[in-house]
Symmetry: C2
Subunit: 357 residues, 2 copies
Amino acid sequence: MVQKLEVHGDDLDSRAREVLREIVMQHVSTGEAISSRSLAKCGRFQLSPASLRNVMADLEDLGYLQQPHPSAGRVPTDRGYRFFIDHLMKSRVLSQRERESIDDQVGHVNEIEDVLQLTSRLLSTLSDQVGVVFMPTLMQFTIRSMDFIAIADNRIMCVIVGTNGVVVNKVIETRQPFSRDELEKISRYITGEFFGLTLDTIRRRLIRLTEEERAHHDTMLQKTIALGIEAVNDVAAPIDHELYVEGTTSILMKPEFADAVSLRKTFLALQEKEKLVELLNSCLSEDGLQILIGSESDFTQVNNFSIVARRYGSNSAPLGMVGILGPMRMEYARMAPLVDYLGRALSRKIEEEEQQQ
Amino acid sequence: MVQKLEVHGDDLDSRAREVLREIVMQHVSTGEAISSRSLAKCGRFQLSPASLRNVMADLEDLGYLQQPHPSAGRVPTDRGYRFFIDHLMKSRVLSQRERESIDDQVGHVNEIEDVLQLTSRLLSTLSDQVGVVFMPTLMQFTIRSMDFIAIADNRIMCVIVGTNGVVVNKVIETRQPFSRDELEKISRYITGEFFGLTLDTIRRRLIRLTEEERAHHDTMLQKTIALGIEAVNDVAAPIDHELYVEGTTSILMKPEFADAVSLRKTFLALQEKEKLVELLNSCLSEDGLQILIGSESDFTQVNNFSIVARRYGSNSAPLGMVGILGPMRMEYARMAPLVDYLGRALSRKIEEEEQQQ
DNA sequence: TCTGGCACTCCGATTCCCGGAGTGCTAACC
DNA sequence: GGTTAGCACTCCGGGAATCGGAGTGCCAGA
C-alpha cells in the first residue's frame, strides 16, 4: 500500500505536483474551492486556465482533488492532503521569537500537571486549533516514593511519586483497618524496597512475595503486601489517564463548522473523549511526527478532522502524546514543526525535572 | 420592590391568573407561542377566543406576556415566569419511585467527589437540563487530619481530610527542605493539635504561634509552623473550588438553541465557568430554593438562562450549591422539588459520612 | 360583559428567475 | 503534441414575488 502511494508520488509530473501544491495552499488559506482561473492568476504557471483545467481533471481522476458540486472549483481530498504532506510540503521552521517564547513559558512552570496544561494551551493558541496533551496509564512509570495516609478507618489515600516528578494519588478502600503507625512503616518499607521500579514490576514482585511469605506468619509484612497490591491495582487501572484539551472554542469558530448541524456534531465529538483517548493510545507505539487526515482513522473520519501529533518523553520510556486537532483544512507546514517543537520541549522539561531531583 | 410585586400579584383577577398559568404551561410543554384560539380549545375557560384576547392584551400591558412578532401568539416574559413561580405554580412532588432511585444511587457511592459528580449527573438526567454542583473554597471546613509527604527536596504534597470526608491535596513549594522524619512528626503534631478546627482558625492560630514562639528557638516547631502556614494559604486560596457540570449536550439539543448563533453563544457560556462560579458563590449566602430567571442576574440574562438552585450542607456550615441550568422555558414545577430533594439527599449523605467516621 | 365578524398584518414556505462562476469539450493554433 | 480561445452547459445562491395560514385588534351587536 505504501509502495503503491510511492509509485503514485512518482507518477505525477512536476507540473501536476506544482498545481496540486498551489491548490492545497490556496485552499488552506481561503477555505474556498479553487478554480482554474484563480490558479492562472497566481502567476506561478505560464499557462492558460484551459490547460490548467486539464491538469486538474487528471488530478481529480487520480483522487487527489474533488469538486464540492459540479461547476465549482476543486478542493483537495484527504489523499490530496496526504500527497501534499508526504511529497510537496516545505515545513516552515519556527521563528527564533516563537521558540524563545515557548521555552520561556515552559521554563516558568514546575508542576508536571501545569506543564502539561500549559503545553496544550500553547498548542492551541499557536495553532489556532484544538491543543491536546495525553498521558496514559502509569503502569510503565518508575516510582520514587509511595506513601499511604489514613483518611478513615478503612479508607486510605495512596500518593505515588514517579522518578519523572509525576504525582498520582488515589483513595483506596481496604478490607482491614490500618493505624497511623502501620501506614508510616508500610510507606517506608515500600518506598525503600521498590524505589526505581515500575508499577508493573512492583505488582509482580508483590504477588510473588505473597506466596513466599505465606508460611512466615509475619502479619506486618502480610498487611504491607495486601495494601501494596490494592494500591497498585487501583492506581494503575488501564483506564487511568489524563487528557488536556484546550481551545475547543477556537475550532468551533471556523467556517467549516458554520451550520448548526456540523457545529453540534463537532461539539459532541469533543465532549466524548473516549474515542480520542483510544486513538491517541494507539498512536503511542510509533515514534516521530504522526499526521492523520480525515478518513485515515475512525475518529478523524466521522468528524472530518485531522490530527498532527507526536510522542513525548524519552525514547525508552514514552510518556504520552501531544498534538493538535482541527479540520482537514489546516496549515500542515506550520503545524508540523510546532507540534514537533512542543513535543521536544515537553520531553526536555520532564527530563530536566527527573535529573534535577 | 418585592412589595410592589406582591401588589401586582393581587392586582390580577382570578381569570387573568388562570390564563397566565395556562399560557405558561402550554408554552413550556410545546415551545410555541400560544394563541387565543389554543387557549379557548383547551377547555378550561368558558370563553371565546375574542374574550381571551382581551385578557391576553391586558397581561401583555402588565409585562407578563410578549409577542415574538406581531400576529404571533404570546410567550411569557421573565416577569411572567416569575409571577407564575411565586403565585401560580403547584410543585409536583417527586414520585416514590424517583426518590427511591435517587436514594439508592446516592447510597452506593462513597467518595465525596463521586457523590458530587453523581448528584450533578442525576440532576442532569432527571431534569434533562444542565446539572451543576458547586463546592467553594474549603476555608470553612473543619479538618480531621493533615498530612505532609515529600515529593522532592523542597516540594511537598499536603493532604487534608475534612471531618465531612472531603479530601483535598495540593503540592506546595517550600523554602527549606524537609526530611521524611520531620514530615511525619509535623503531620502528627498538626493533626493532633488542630483536629476539628477550620482552616481559617488554624491559620490564625499558626500566625499567633509564630509570634509567641519566636523567642523559644525551637527549630522544629518553627519549621512546623512555617510549613503549616504555607499549606493552609495554598490550599485554601479563594479561587479554589470544584465545579461539576453535567449534561451540556442535552441542553444544546433544545429547540431554543437550534440556530448556529445561539448554539455558539450557549456553548461559550458553558465553557467559561468563571461567571457561573461567581453567580453560585453569590447565591451561597441565602437559604432555601432559589430560582433565577433570565434578566434576574447577569449570567442568566445574556444567555436567556434560568437557574434553579439550592444550598447543600448543614445550615450552620453550608458546603456549596446544587442546581440546574437551562433555557427560561422549563418545567419549574418539576425542577423545584427535584433540586430540593437532591440538595437534601446530598446534605444527608455528607452528614452521614461525617457521623460515621 | 361577552362574542361573532372582519380587516389587517406578518411569517414562512414555495416558486421562479437571473447572474455569476466554473467546467468540459472542441476546434484552431503554434 | 501541447496549448489556447471560444462556447455551451450546469449549478449555486440570492432576490423578488406569491400565497396560505395563523393570529391579532377592533367594532358592533347581543
